[in-house]
């Protein structure tokens, strides 16, 4: 396992693998998105209470899953940075933050657009909504921290510590609907006793979840490839500047 982790520690080997995987990932994402959208609009029936508004769930719930998955992934990468000193861990951590933030923003906006017709309000300060807003603010904070510290190793360490501290919010989001009396409905898919929604609604939701996960992974690969190029550029330019300086002194 550890060997497998370090096999792709070499940025060049990682880029080669990413180049092979990317076209397949893009195709799989588009296919899953088309199947998921077909299921969401043409197969899934309206809910007996919510009517057609239930269709918002097919974008809202996968976005919520991805925003929590993003932070979980960043926490694992933070461990990779601090404990295992894996050379790609901080790259993954840096790239995952804006992707997670976009999914989190989508979750909050679509949740609000569902809340208005269903609850009669755009927003309530209940535990689930508030903890999700806190997650978005944490994402924005981490992105700002990456930009604030110029030295990449120092930035990675600082962000890793903040990420690991912030990971406490993930179980709070997940179990907020069980621990507190919230307006937000309890979990209906990820439950110990199995999903409580009908299969005609469940499969489009799971396919949309898969499409979102594939999109997340695709964006991660492209983002990591870009970050590696930018770091190489930085090194090349620094070396070039140092060489110029040496020539001038001689």
């Amino acid at each position: 396992m550890t060997d497998a982790l370090y096999t792709f520690a070499n940025p060049r080997r990682f880029t080669q693998l990413a180049n092979i995987l990317l076209p397949w990932m893009v195709a799989a994402t588009i296919l899953a998105l088309l199947v998921g959208q077909y299921g969401a609009w043409f197969v899934a029936p309206p809910d007996y209470q919510q009517g057609e508004s239930i269709r918002i769930k097919y974008v809202h719930v996968p976005a919520a899953w991805m925003s929590m998955m993003g932070w979980t992934m960043m926490s694992l990468s933070a461990l990779g940075t601090l404990v295992f000193r894996h050379p790609l861990a901080d790259v993954a951590q840096k790239v995952a933050a804006p992707i997670g933030a976009v999914f989190c923003a989508i979750c909050l906006i679509t949740g609000s657009l569902w809340g208005k017709p269903m609850w009669g309000t755009w927003w309530v300060w209940d535990a689930r909504l508030t903890s999700m807003l806190v997650l978005l603010l944490m994402y924005l904070g981490v992105i700002a921290l990456w930009r604030a510290i110029e030295e990449p190793v120092m930035a990675a360490k600082a962000v890793s510590i903040v990420t690991l501290v912030g990971a406490i919010n993930i179980p709070i989001i997940k179990f907020s609907v069980d621990w507190w009396n919230t307006l937000h409905q309890p979990a209906s898919v990820l439950r110990l006793d199995g999903p409580t929604i009908h299969s005609s609604m469940l499969w489009p939701l799971l396919v949309m979840g898969l499409a979102s996960a594939l999109l997340f992974a695709t964006l991660m690969l492209v983002g990591m490839r870009t970050e590696l190029i930018e770091r190489r550029l930085r090194r090349l330019m620094l070396n070039d500047a140092a060489l110029d300086e040496t020539r001038r002194v001689q």
Binding site: F42, S53, V102, V222, T226, L233
Partner: protein
Amino acid sequence: MLGLDHNSGYILASYGVTFLLMGLFVWVTARRYAAAKRKLTKVSRHIDG
């Protein structure tokens, strides 16, 4: 059956926001990659030359 009712505005707005934000993010990510690759080629050429 395409599911829309009197709340269709909220439903369409949700899908609109989702695809707009994601589309924008994908576009920015792709452009950033293309720009980084172009700059790397330029800098490498400058250093080699």
